[in-house]
Symmetry: C2
Subunit: 941 residues, 2 copies
């Protein structure tokens, strides 16, 4: 006997702690516990936990997630060299505690081999049941159970599962053999197969595997086990699992654990059963009864398969279930008795376990159990998935019940999920009963139904007549704002999640489905064609902006309720958060909505949206038509020294200047009225108003028809309009003549806007306007606009005999502003980070064009998330850090906020909490999300 070898064997049985791969559980022993999810996976940790709690868990062992990582670095062969000793020792103990033997003997031990990562990935990875069956153990099992059909069916299932999962034989090949036997016998259902039939199926399976794979189906149980473990480890990186982790943002895990567990059989007779249950209603969160289903004489997969109708756990649940299906109490009790009725003792035991688990985990549990010959076994428990409504109710209820603290309750709700609760939704079952036309991108959540219109003008007209409309466009442009605002929902054929339609709709909290490539929209015919379906103007369609589904017809919707548990959780969030939450709103209506959602003010009011409403666009366009002429003549005048020439220039300037000032005079009272409405809705809350931002060409029609229409409306030639459109054209409008550059070129526009703000502030007592200068890159730009603003404020103060306290600040959205923030801060009373544009310029991503590669960038992991949805913390975030540090180096109490889409993203909110922001500002519908995310960030500390 060689000492060293024996020493090695010994160390495999009792390895050093860092080298331990296998953790035992059940039968009075738990090497792991619930805190070890990272190492043992969720399933493994909870099995160990349940065993510790004294619950009836079939004994087994967990091979750690770290072992999975080694599987990938060492390869299967070298891994098994390392862990063989531990696995064999664990099996030996299983044999001891169960009194069974693995792969042989009169009382054979069968095991299940299941995956189980630290995060739940249901159905994504592989499972093998009934492992350990072979001709010898089948014979022994038959002898022992006296139930040959059960045993041969188990063997058939095992060969099929193992063959498919481990040996990679196509699923269809097995089905083919099974069907052949059923066909020969004239059967329809699997249940008609007798034990002998199943024996024949097993024979055919084995022959088929031999044919396809060129080898025998393995009969050695240890070989089966080793290969089963490899298959589970291997499934960690199958395409499905990788995709799932990507989609669900599951990161930082090293692999899956493998749980090897003694098989128990819910299908071993009528005193056996299997079931799944939630400790509370996962749909509403209510704690009314023990919510779940079971099947007698069945295995877990039968419950899911949907061939037999599962029965309810409790009598109360069963009765409700029957009532909804108009099943009489008599029939129910006979055919679908509750577990509480069919196995009252087991029910009692299970109900006690339910209470114990909730107390232990302090959360709603999703459990799996099996009853074998009247004996209850717990196979799994985990925190149950739930709807947003349920999440909110459960969190608040658990706090009320004293199981968790308020702080924990706040952390129990996923902020992103809240969105579900804020928008109208289709009434239950409406979608299931309706005709789905196509699916586009879920661009802005909520449900909407309405009559189709194909242009913004119709949308506004019809809406004014009290009709509910869906605006359907190939894509939208800023000119459509009025129509978008009037519509109940927006549907586009082109454009992604960050297209104009999507961004504006989300800002408005309006349902939008974008990028429905299948739709063919004809503006001329006023039809939208989808496959063979033709929908005409005025016909009803319905949109689910949360899924992207588009339905023909009118689906009933219902409004969200913001009371009850929702109000409770929001109050708790406000109690714990330190970060302010404002909203982006441009109308009194949106403002009121945002205030109802808890906004503490407006962080971004985009004044240009006001220009699109009704007749205003005409005044604004009239202004644009002459603005460049005015600017050009003024520049010429400034440069001209000759008196005669000056006189000529001054004469030419007179007419356009008159038109220009007239247009601005027309706009002034309209803007003032808007501001008055908003200030009133805000009831003294602050309101950050951004001066005119988009390039002027965005306000002009780019198409011939629109230009002709505009020419007619203005009484000028279409050529004149075309000339202005051309002269305003820009190669890169994102980096062009916009933002404060407009206010510098056309100071009267700034003056008009500031005057409207000041006059509104004078009219509404307690209003707190803050004026924000956009697209500042150089402190002198800000200083120059600020001078103009201060002059105008002083003028209004003099005229109205009031004293106005108006803060003046700037958006930080140009990288140059960020890195010269120490200079900018000398002139600014606040910074608001325009993270949309800051991202575009920092990363050199045009939001309109980046679709060509950005998806690929995220898929490759260059960026963890789309940087237009979740702030790019490493890049743009660093820019922000620099700006805040520079800014506060000269003004320690400089107020700092963020506006733009990112302000409503929970990860970005957490970033803002941790990086010195005073507030975030987001669209009204994201205000509750931001409040909750801010509270969670504060509680994480």
């Amino acid at each position: 006997m060689r000492k060293s070898k024996s020493g090695q064997a010994g160390s495999a049985v009792r390895p050093a702690k860092g080298d331990k791969h296998v953790y035992l559980f059940g039968a009075g022993l738990s090497e792991g516990d619930g805190s070890m999810k990272a190492l043992l996976g969720g399933k493994g940790a909870n099995l160990a936990d349940m065993a510790s709690l004294g619950l009836p868990v079939p004994p087994g062992f967990t091979i750690t997630t770290e072992t999975c990582a080694k599987f990938y670095t060492l390869g299967a062969a070298r891994l098994h060299e390392r862990i063989r000793g531990e696995v064999e020792a664990a099996l030996k103990r299983l044999e001891q505690v169960t009194g069974k033997t693995f792969g042989r003997g009169a009382n054979p031990l069968l095991v299940s081999v299941r995956s189980g990562a630290a995060a739940s990935m249901p159905g994504m990875m592989d499972t093998v049941l009934n492992l350990g069956l072979n001709p010898e153990t089948v014979e022994a099992m038959v002898a022992r159970t006296g139930n040959p059909r059960f045993v041969w069916d188990s063997y058939r299932r095992f060969i099929q599962m193992f063959g498919n999962v481990v040996m990679e034989v196509e699923h269809d090949a097995f089905e083919h053999e099974l069907e052949a036997v059923k066909h020969a016998r004239g059967y329809t259902l699997d249940t008609e197969l007798t034990a002998d039939d199943l024996k024949e199926v097993v024979g055919r399976y084995q022959a088929m595997v031999r044919r396809v794979k060129g080898c025998e189906f393995p009969t050695d149980a240890m070989d089966q086990l080793r290969r089963g473990i490899d298959a589970v480890f291997g499934s960690w990186n199958n395409a499905r699992a990788v995709k799932y982790r990507q989609m669900n943002d599951i990161r930082g895990l090293v692999g899956t654990a493998v749980n090897v567990q003694t098989m128990v059989f819910g299908n071993s007779g009528t005193n056996s059963a299997t079931g799944v249950a939630f400790t509370r209603d996962p749909s509403t969160g209510e704690n009314r009864y023990f919510y779940g289903e079971y099947l007698i004489n069945a295995q877990g997969e039968d419950v899911v398969a949907g061939i037999r109708t599962p029965q309810q756990i409790t009598v109360k649940g069963s009765r409700e279930w029957a009532r909804a299906r108009q099943i009489s109490e008599k029939v129910r009790r006979l055919q679908y008795p509750a577990l509480e009725e069919s196995m009252p003792a087991v029910f009692k035991q299970l109900d006690a376990i339910r209470a114990k688990l909730e107390r232990h985990y302090k959360d709603m549990q999703d459990i799996e159990f099996t009853i074998e010959d009247g004996r209850l076994y717990m196979l799994q428990t985990r925190n149950g998935k739930r709807t947003a409504a349920a999440a909110v109710r459960i969190a608040t209820d658990l706090a009320k019940e004293g199981l968790i603290t308020e702080k924990t309750a706040v952390q129990r709700v996923d902020p992103a999920q809240l969105d579900q609760l804020l928008h109208p939704v289709f009434v239950r079952t409406a979608e299931a009963k309706s005709k789905r036309l196509t699916v586009g991108l879920p661009a802005s959540p909520g449900a909407a139904t309405g009559q189709v219109v194909f242009n913004a003008a119709s949308a506004e007209e019809w809406a004014a007549q009290g009709k509910q409309v869906i605006l359907c466009r190939v894509e939208t442009s800023p000119e459509d704002i009025g129509g978008m605002s009037a519509a109940a929902g927006i549907l586009t054929a082109r454009g992604g999640m960050t297209s104009h339609a999507a961004v504006v709709a989300r800002g408005m909290g309006k349902c939008c489905v974008s990028g429905c490539g299948e739709l063919q929209i004809s503006y001329d015919k006023k039809t939208v064609v989808c496959g063979s379906e033709v929908i005409r103007e005025g016909e009803w369609i319905s949109l689910n902006g949360s899924t992207g589904a588009v339905y023909a017809g009118r689906l009933e919707t219902e409004d969200p309720k913001l009371t009850g548990p929702f109000a409770v959780i929001m109050a708790l969030a406000d109690k714990y958060r330190t970060l302010g939450v404002r909203t982006n709103a441009d109308t009194p209506r949106d403002t009121a909505k945002a205030v109802a959602f808890g906004a503490e003010g407006i962080g971004l009011c985009r004044t240009e949206h006001m220009f699109f409403e009704g007749d205003r666009i005409t005044s604004f366009r009239r202004m644009i038509l002459v603005a460049e002429t005015v600017k050009g003549l003024r520049a010429a005048l400034a440069a001209c020294g000759d008196a005669a020439e000056r006189a000529v220039l001054e004469a030419s300037l007179a007419a356009p200047l008159k038109q220009y000032n007239q247009a601005l005079r027309e706009l002034l009272p309209l803007q003032r009225k808007d501001f008055i409405g908003m200030f009133k809705a805000l009831k003294g809350r602050p309101c950050t108003i951004r001066l005119l931002d988009p390039p002027l060409h965005e306000f002009l029609p780019q198409d011939v028809a629109g230009q002709e229409e505009m020419a007619a409306a203005m009484g000028v030639g279409v050529e004149e309009i075309r000339k202005v459109v051309e002269s305003l054209h820009e190669s890169n409008p994102m980096l062009g003549h916009r933002g404060c550059r407009l206010g510098i070129s056309y100071p009267e526009v700034t003056q008009m806007q500031v005057r409207a703000i000041c006059e509104a502030a004078a009219a509404v007592k307690g209003s707190q306007p803050e004026i924000m200068v956009p697209l500042v890159g150089h402190v002198k730009e800000l200083a120059s606009q600020k001078e103009l603003i201060l002059q105008t404020i002083a003028e209004v103060e003099r005229q109205k005999k009031v004293s106005l306290k108006i803060k003046i600040g700037t958006m930080i959205e140009v990288p140059r502003a960020a890195i010269t923030a120490d200079q900018i801060a000398t002139e600014a009373e606040f910074f608001s980070f325009g993270t949309n544009d800051l991202t575009q310029m920092t990363c050199a991503f045009s939001r309109d064009d980046a679709g060509k590669f950005l998806g690929d960038y995220v898929a490759r992991g260059f960026y963890d998330y789309d940087p237009f949805q979740v702030l790019d913390q490493d890049g743009v975030g660093r820019m922000i850090d620099i700006a805040i540090a520079y800014g506060r180096s000269v003004k320690p109490h400089l107020k700092v906020g963020v506006c733009g889409e990112h302000g409503g993203d929970p990860k970005t909110v957490a970033f803002c909490h941790g990086h010195g922001f005073d507030y975030v500002s987001c669209s009204p519908y994201r205000v509750p999300i931001a409040r909750l995310a801010a509270a969670q960030a504060a509680l994480r500390g």
Copy 2:
């Protein structure tokens, strides 16, 4: 007597040092000296200096530039309260030393009142001569001189000058009176006017002033002086002066000084004269003779007026002058004698002063003198303006003569001026004799002449036939590169200093005049119309790219000489500079030229320019046509799990993939050939090659005609091309699918380019390629391209059995790259700042669109310079500082350079020297400029 008042008066006569406004000079006293330019202005300081040197300076005093600043803060009235005492005291001294009395008496003192700022601003500000004349002093002067015509002419001149400059009476009003008298007498010339005539003119002037201004012309000399001083101070901020300072980049001055100086008269008789002279030839810099002109019996203004022909100073100069004009020696001696001949004693004195001044100032001087009754007076000396050639020669000569050190010589030449020496120029006088059609923007310096063609293809064809052509386009686009390269010069009707034509032409060192708004170009008729002039294809025109002038016809040009003093100054520059200088070049020809200009390697080789040459564009376009299809199908394949679907996808991929690879295979040998040519021209110098950068749509024709042509060339339908053009369209191409994003989407393009580089490197011994990945924003982009590059290098090494040392680095042009430079540096062996794009993204300025406001921004002083010409040091410079600091924090010896237009700008070169750069890279023609600027930066320390 109130004590305090007397104390004040006393302190005005002898003020505290900080409060001294007036500095005396001449007649044995100099309160100032040459070092006090900032306070006394250039003229005042040098007058004090000359007085100290014992030169004959008419005595006077200088009122400081700081007084001018006070003039603007205090206003004229309060200023004069402060300085009255000092001025009166200074005048008193003048009276004492001259024995004359100001504004009265038998021997009246007349003074000149002249402006004089610290920087030379010739003719921009006001001057008043003969101040102190009034009826009393006129009479006294007549009595004293016995020359009434001289006196009355002086009085007439004084009234006219003072009336115009101080009283703001239109110049024409005086001319009108003068003409009236001449007309009445039947005179043609002013010289025909007698003393009596002039007396009448004076009377008419006085009456006219009374009529126009409603007041008498002042007779009180002190009043005249006060108002004269105010006028000079006021002229500091007249439009002309402000514009001049702006254009000549004169900054940081507080105002102009005023020099009040005893009048001396060059027009007091035939023993009087006045002249200007340069101590060396300001055109060539040669020290051949005393170069200057004088006029007998004249005032300074007469020399400039051009009515009389000035005579030369030296006999040698006079003879050369006469020879050029075919004037016989006899006539010359009689009519145009040199000063050396007419006043030999004065000449001797002046020549001695010439030598003294050069020794004192150690530089070529521009002097003004007056001879009054045989007595020489020095009125001004200053460093003489000179051509670039003269600057270089004078600096090297002075060093050779031991007057200045080598280091000083290097600092004496303005690097920007060198540009004049590097391009072909028109032979002397060619322009003066030619018909100028119009003036555009001086977009790229040099002179060019050629036959007009209207498209790039013709340019290439005609050039291939040995013709010299000027490419005339409304504007140019990347498709025109081949034609631009073939042309001798480029003329465009649209586009500014940073238009495509301008930027590319400067890069090529090719003469270009852009933005000639007056030109109407018709591609159909093949004509360019300018006013009434029509020029047809094939007709000759000539361009001066340094001035923007466009001439009809063929003007003779000559090539620059890079030997002699130019070579000397460059050698000195190289001796003292520490910053490397590389070049931006894309062809072997440009490379050779740059090496001749002293480039130490290539800092930027833009591979895409290679794709436009000849047939290559066809292969490249073929690649583009299928590239998106290939990309799309590959993405679909990657996402597809279904075997049958995969097979379909694979089948559809086969044909486009074949075309795609075929196109790349066609391009490979062509690129390799280019690189071989460049490596050979570089003779072992390093060559930084940037991988494909521009968006693909730039390679496709955007107009219908071009698309049809392309369709025909490729044998595909025009619809197909239109579809691809449309699908490639971008809203903001600057921030779109370009740079490394292309290499990531189309890895085979990167592979092809890298292979071409490696195979060329293997073929040319000693070549040092460096591969640069463009538009990196995230380290993972770089890492991904680097992996591909390294694989390809390894492949070629294996195949060619060579070992290649190829550095891999990146352009820093995206702000995100700059602020995450610590991460980027882990993957990069060098950084090259792409300051053009970095400026665009940092400042949010689209170079194509910023014309709408950027001029205004510079005019308002938001930016000191156009940030696309001179690096914006406060903003982009700070971004660069951050990037270098971050980059070197992980790689202390990281090589850092700059490429792009800024690399050749002297201010930017100085920035790079001071901020840790290893090298700058600029277009070949700017290499000498950068070398000199780098040396000067090093010498400034």
